[in-house]
Structures are given as C-alpha cells and as structure tokens.
Symmetry: C2
Subunit: 545 residues, 2 copies
C-alpha cells in the first residue's frame, strides 16, 4: 500500500536545465588543477588529473548514442533524492538509446565487489520516482579502496557489458570513485566512473558543486519540527528546548535550520573551534541568553546544537586523544580494575589539566567516556547526548547564578535529537529536480566518454530552466590530508566558513534572536502550492550566491 | 518575520457546514441524560441537567443579534487549531453584530480569575488565522474549581459586559466549564459558559463529539516523521527504531499513527491492561517479532509505544502504588539511608512479588523509581523513558534466546519520542475547518442563549458542507469517577475501545505487519494539493463511522 501523497507525487515530472532538455553538445573549459597539493595529487592521478571542466549546451537535432549499460551504487547514509538520481540516469540513458540498460548494485559498494545486482527496469524505477529512501537497491558503507575490490568489480562490469559505474555518495565515496576511475583508466579497461554529490550534512560542496543533494529536504524537515517546537515553547512559555541536529563534522545543517527558524541560541562547531572555546565558555554563553530572557520574564527558548559540537571543543578533543592513548597503553591493567573504581583509575592516569576537565563533566558523561569504547578501543564520542549534557551544565551554572542574584527566573528543559527524521524524507521539489538533473547529466557524461568526473548542476538559486549542467574533474576538488596516520588524497571537506555569507548573516542577527522571541515557523514541505512556498532553495545557498 | 507558508496559508478561508453559512435556526432535540450515574449528576447540576441536544439548520433571511461580548480561555496543553476556534468565534459574533467584542483571557483560566485579558481585534485575529500554537493569548493549567474563582471571574465579566465565556480545553476543562455554567445559572448571573473539545490525545470524544480538535494534525505530523524513519530503517536495514508517542491516559495517537504507517509492532495500553499483561509479556511480544523478522534476514523494524504504556501494565501499577505507600510511610527513615543503599532498602520493604518485579527492572529505571519523586512524594512514572526501557529489555531477552538458538540475527536500536513536534503544528485543512466551525457554532450557541453546552460539529468524515452543527449539553457526557479519593462528576474519558472499528482493523492486520515490511510513508501535511491528499480525516474517524 502506498500513501495518497506518494501516489499523487509519483506523477511529478522533475524540472531539468533547459540546456539538457533536448539535444546537447559538450563544451570543454580550461585544464583544472587540484585545490591544493597539486604535485602530490598529479602524481597519484596521472590519468585523471588536470582534465577540463565540461558543460552541456543546447544543440540542434537529436543527441543519440550506441546502446550502453550502466551500473549504479548508493554509498553511505541515506539522503533525500537518491531515487531521483537513479530515475534521472535511467531516463537519461534511455533517451540516448532505448536499448541501454541500468544495473543497480545491491547494498552499497559491496554489491559491486560481491556481484550482487539487479537490472533496474522501468517497472521498478517508476515505483520509486520522487520518493525518499535508498531502498530501491539499498546502501552500504564498504569502502572501495583495494585493488582486489577494483578487479572484482571489473569482472562483473565485463560480464554485464557495463560501460560506466556511477557512485552516489559523500566526499569519501567520491574520492574512492576517482581512485577507481584512475585505476580503470590506467589499466585501459574501458570502464568509466562518475560520481554524484550526496550528503544531508552539506559538507560536500565547493565552487563548482553548489550543494550536495538531500541537504535541502532534510533541513526543511528539521526546520518544520523545530518551528513547531518553537511555537510550543512560545505558547506554553515554560521550557527551554535543547535540540541536537545531525552533522558530525560540519555544522551546515544547524546553521541552515537556524536561518530558517531563528532560535534563541545556535552553536556552530566551527566557531567554537576557531575561538578555542572551552565547554564552560559554551555553557556560559547559553546561560547568559537564558538569564537575559528571564530578566524580561521569558523563561523559555530554543537552543540548536550540532551533533559534532563536543568534538569541535579543542579542550575536549585533547582530553579524548589522551584518553584513547592512555587506555590503549594501559589496556591490560584497566581491565583488572573493578567497575566502580575505573573512573578513579582514569583520573589518576590523566594529565592534571585533562583530569580536572574529566572530573568537571557530569557523571553520566565521564562514565560513558571511560567505559564504553568502540571495537578499535576508542572512546565513543557519538554516544554522548550533547543536548542533555549542555542542559544539565547550564542548569548547574544558573543555580549558582541564582544564589548570586545574577539569575532570577525558572529553567526547565526538554531535549530532542533530529537525524533519522529527515534522511529519508520524500525529496522537496528542489531536491527532486536537482537530483533528477544530476542523474540526467551523469548519463550525458558517460555518453561523452568522461571518467573521474562528478556530475554538476549549478546556478541553483535560479529557476531550474536556467541551471547549468556539466561535469567537474574530481581531482580538482582534492587535497592531501592525514587519515589514520597516513597522508591521503581526499576531497576537501566543506566546513562552515566563518567569513561566508550564511554565517555572517546569522552572526549579525543572533544577538537580537537571543533576547527577543523572533521565531519563524516554516511548516512542512509543500509540493503543490505557490512557487514561493514550494520551490525555494535553502537560505545557505541564497546567502552563498 | 513570518514564513512563506504562513503567509500563503493566512489567505485560507476555512470551510464550514452549509447549514451555518447563512441564516440559521435552532432545532431542539429530546431531553438528554448523563451517560451514567444519572441521579448523582442530576443532583449536582439541577439547572444544566437534561437539556436537549440542539442543531442549527439553514434558514432564510439573515440571522442577527444584539451586540454582545465574549471572553475566551485556552486551557491545558496546546493542540493545533486553537487559533482557528478563536477566529471562528470572532467571525461568528461579528457576523451576528459587528459591534460584538471578543476578549481573550491571558495565560489560561488564571487570566479570568486574575483579570488579565486583551481585546482581540481583527488586526490581532488576522495574524493568527490558520496558524498553530496557543500564543495568541497563551494557555495555562489552573483548574477552575473553587467558588472564589467563579466569583472573581464574574466580576470581570460584569465589568467587561461579557455575555458568555468559552472554554477551549480537554475533558477536565470542559467538566469545569459545566460546573461554572451551573454556578452562574444558579446564581442568575446571566453569564453563559460554552465548551470546545480540544486535545491531541483524542480522549475527549463520544457519540456526539466525534473527535477533539488537534488530533488530526498532530497524528499527521507524527506519522510523517514515523514514515521517514521507517523508510530509513528499510534503506539502512540495520536498526530497530523504538518510537514513543504522546498520550498518557489513552493510546489513540499511537493507534492512529499505526494505521497510517503500518509499523512492525504497536503497543496499545488499553489492550495491555485488558489482557492483564506483565512487562515481560510485552517484552516477549516485541522480541518474538524481532526474532521472526531476523529469521527472514530482516534485522530492522519499527515499534510504536504509547507514552502511558508503563501505567497500563497492571503489575507495574501495583508496584508503583505499593512504592508510593511504602515511601510515604517510611519517609523519615528512607531519608537517612545512604544513597547507594536506597535501592536495597526499597527492596527490603516491598512485598515479595513487587520486590521481584522491582529487581527485574533495568537499574536506570529502578533508581529513578526509588529516588526521583514529585512534590507530592509520588514516584515519577512520566520520567521513565519507556522506549529505552523496552529496547534494553528486548535486547536482554534476545541475547538469552541467541544462546538457545531461538534468535539468529542482530539487534541494534535507536529511540525517539514525539510529542512537542506536533502539538503546535499549523492545523491541517481538516483541523482548520473543524476548529473554525466549532468557533462559529459556539458563537451561535451564545446568541441562542445556551449555557453548559459543548460546541459540536458532526458527520466529519463527509465534506465540510455536509457537516452537522449544534450543541451538546456537557452533563450528557458525564459520569461519577473517583479523583484524589473523592467521587466527582467528570466527562467520561474515551479510551481505545478494543471492540471498536479502529482497533479491530489494526488487530486484523498486525500479524502481517509484524513479519512483513508493510510500511506506509504518509509524508508531510499538504495544504494546496489534490483533495485526496489534503482533506482526509484520520483513519480512526473513518473506521469509527
């Protein structure tokens, strides 16, 4: 059974750039170079380095190609619009030649290695148009990094006569797509590899890739529920709501939601790190907003916290690093310590500075850090319920201030975490159009013989017809970074820029939002209404362009 | 600043029953009696008992009245559509006479007692049409029960020349509205009192009140995010999501969300109680579904849990009752017990049966039950994170089954609680229309001189034009119940009926939903699309009528 909305929505025909609606021709730009470490990257990617940016332009007549087969892979966490990338590829290759075939590798990159796949027919693809989720073929987190994997992949490509593989994934997956492209090109296998930029976290973007898909829809879902909570706070007038949002390594999601909903306090991890703030600095900042509103009789509000906040705090980062090293070095001894003595043991082994910080944490958090470790023996930062931790520490500080007469109100809290609520939402019109277009462009890149490119759709703050379609060499986005102790070529992760338009706008408003009740209630994503309601890009995109 | 959706939505003109669009006439039905305890209720409400049900019918000409003033009160928790009740009342009294005035008492019933109010002008009302929240005048939980409160209220009514008070609230607030109506009538004050049925919990309904407002919108918001989580579960295929939903004393919200999203497991508090299930029965039931899916290779799923579940389990109810009595009796001694010995102390004082149950609970829960008590000294059941408790206990059971070979899969969990996300959502078309109509009808009831009535709009599974408008004597919904040790007249709370249409449909499907992946993804509330997407009543309403 499918819902009425899904039924109605399946008829939606995504908009595409006018340039690729009919016949197209390829225009090549100038040679590119990587964003940094040019010599290293060039050495590692001799065959795919320096290729030009390409764009597709309107042509006359019809663009046709020999029939060709394509294999697709969904890699990593779900993001709204993945199914539309696939329907875009499907329609794209069929337009070029109706005998072209699309194969889907099952369960992520491992499907390529283990030869698990299905043919995606029009019956299957039609069922998934404009829907959320990655369930059409499933996703997975296997990393394509080893030559053995590449060779196993090549086997199945040869067997199925696959001309190109499209990898739909985040920065790491696209890095690996490029490594694979380089390998297949060096070995003259004839198999091309194309990437598509996906991640709700919004951290895969740069000058040429304006946004990763899914970010638009996910932030709109989170903003809907944040707005509802704000309205509740402003009606009940009795709670401060601490709301944690998905996004481990970048705070784009939190920043976008703040721009949409104007909460009282928003923490941006990149700023906390840049200003070298301590946990106490963060807690004091929130407590000051609470006290200022309390002085006006407003004992309610909202605080947005990025999931990765705790890891952005330099002091906590150092504590965690020392904890990991210390526990690794003393593993055998630590295992013999009685459960109720482990915390004391940890304190005794840490440097004075880190021991103090460790002791200042609420017991639930210090226990978690000392006792729960992942299979590699590392402390599990992701288990820390940052929103609760902050709420508790703010309460403690306010209680102290109350005694000093610095705080005169009440402070009661609720906490929330939104992540899974948005990752598989049905794509907004923007993501439906953007993803479908990315898929159509990927098909054209393959037909043009390109490999090591990422599908690119730009000018996205304009109506879809004016969008620019093309391909960007993946090497152009790379630099060298240390991963697990080794220097590796990777796509540079896009963090929130403190001198960028979105953050600067936010920073210019936040003092007012902190003290006033300036909440905005965006409401749910609309698919059928007026264009100013249904077709708006994110505030981040608008302020960046 | 208001959002684009709010801007577009402010132009929406809610639909009303055709019968009240133009001129109306009042038709009186037969005398009523209370649903039970007729003699007692009659004695307590000599002036407002036995009044007839009234309906408004289309008339010719124009219906006009002398100018009159109305005071409104929002009582209790927020529910979507409260602002539309108010705009309906406003338009209703202005239609009858443009010089009529509407006053809003601020911050709930205490506004009436403390004489805190504003006049609601068209400028103010227009800003809030079709929006969520109760922020136009705020709400509160003060109970109107004492004669002193009634007399203070009367003072301000006389001062403002208020002809009638409208109380927008749940079962308790409407009970109090009736007590107030009776008092004002007995004292021949000339002030009428009308109630409006509000609660997202859906537990204020009966033969004549088909649904309480807000239930439609809130369950649609919850179903949106549950559907998104289901799609994520079905894409990632690695988590069981335990989702707790608002609803302390009835499981209507959980049942409606289950009907909309078809999760694998749904717990209904009323059934757990009727079947006298233990906590272990509930845990076993969930674990069996997990094991059955694991046997098919499906190590993911969704479980819906009503907020009040734990209080529906008879054994837990008994444990809590004994805990409360025991702790009250031993307060002084208990206070002297060292923190880490309190649990042992509690165990030593409980009956054998309850001590066993108490010891079987996860430590986090038993600690909470023993240590955290409310200002009245009672254990705080509402603090128990039922969704986490169940997830932990299911994990424990599955681990045991694994050793016995009865479980062959993996079991990883995520948990969620949705409540505040839906209480202040902008009303769906249904709630926007229903609430506005309730307000319009309330205005007509006042003009007809009625008091002690609840505004009623029925036939709500049909298009709005065919809805029936009228008033129901509140006494007709009452029976006698024990509250804080005393028998009191109260509106009978509507629990999920195990022989009712919605539950029976659910029960006929749940075995299939448990083992299959039969998820439905309803998506967000739509305001502008096709009618089958935008204007559907809840499945509960449809299956009840």
């Amino acid at each position: 059974m499918i819902s009425q909305l899904q039924k109605a929505r399946s008829a939606y025909q995504p908009k595409v750039p006018a340039a690729i609606e009919g016949a197209t021709k390829l225009a090549e730009g100038k040679a590119t170079q990587s964003v940094a470490d040019q010599e290293d990257i060039k050495k590692l990617f001799p065959n795919t380095y320096g290729m030009p940016i390409v764009t597709f332009e309107k042509a006359t007549g019809e663009t046709k190609a020999e029939a060709f087969n394509v294999g697709i892979i969904l890699s990593g966490g779900q993001a709204p619009g993945g199914h539309n990338v696939i329907s875009g590829i499907f329609d794209g290759i069929k337009k070029l030649n109706k005998d072209s075939k699309l194969y889907g590798f099952l369960g992520g990159p491992s499907g390529l290695v283990d030869h698990k796949y299905i043919e995606l027919t029009s019956e299957i693809v039609d069922e998934y148009r404009n829907t959320g989720g990655f369930d059409i073929i499933g996703s997975g987190r296997t990393k394509l990094e080893e030559v053995e994997q590449f060779d196993k992949g090549l086997e199945i490509c040869k067997k199925l006569n696959i001309k190109a593989i499209i990898i739909i994934g985040g920065d790491d997956s696209n890095t690996n797509a490029c490594v694979l492209a380089e390998y297949y090109l060096a070995k003259k296998t004839g198999v091309q590899v194309i990437g598509c930029p996906k991640t709700i976290d919004g951290d895969l973007k740069n000058e040429m890739i304006e946004t990763s898909f899914g970010f638009d829809t996910a932030t709109k879902v989170y903003s809907e529920v944040i707005g509802n909570i704000e309205r509740d706070a402003n009606s009940a007038k009795k709670y401060w709501h601490f709301i944690k949002l998905m996004g481990r390594s970048a705070s784009h999601v939190t920043l976008e939601c703040a721009l949409q909903t104007q909460p009282n306090v928003t923490l941006i991890g990149e700023e906390v790190e840049a200003k070298n703030q301590s946990l106490d600095d963060v807690v004091t900042y929130i407590a000051e907003a609470v006290a200022a509103r309390a002085a006006k009789g407003l004992n309610f509000g909202t605080v947005l916290v990025p999931e990765g906040l705790i890891e952005f705090i330099p002091a906590i980062k150092k504590l965690i690093a020392e904890l990991n090293d210390m526990l690794a070095a003393n593993q055998a001894e630590f295992d013999t310590v009685a459960a109720d003595k482990k915390i004391d043991y940890v304190v005794s082994k840490l440097s004075k500075e880190n021991a103090e910080l460790f002791k200042s944490l609420p017991t639930t958090v210090s226990t978690q850090l000392a006792l729960e470790r992942d299979p590699h023996g590392n402390v599990q930062v992701s288990l820390i319920e940052t929103e609760q931790l902050l709420a508790e520490m703010v309460a403690k500080k306010l209680a102290a201030w109350k005694k000093e007469g610095k705080f005169v109100g009440k402070f009661a809290t609720q906490h929330h975490f939104f992540g899974y609520e948005g990752r598989c939402a049905a794509p907004s019109n923007f993501d439906a159009d953007y993803c479908y277009s990315l898929g159509r462009v990927a098909a054209l890149l393959i037909a043009s013989g390109k490999t090591g490119y990422m599908s690119s759709v730009r000018n996205t703050t304009k109506p879809a017809a004016e969008w620019l379609a093309g391909g960007i060499p993946i090497t152009a986005m790379m630099n060298m970074e240390k991963r697990n102790g080794k220097m590796k070529p990777v796509i540079q992760k896009a963090l929130v820029k403190l001198d960028g338009g979105p953050f600067k706008f936010f920073a210019s408003k936040r003092a007012e939002w902190a003290i006033e009740t300036a909440f905005v209630y965006p409401g749910p994503i609309q698919y059928f209404g007026p264009t100013e309601v249904c077709d708006q890009p994110t505030k981040t995109l608008v302020l960046e362009h």
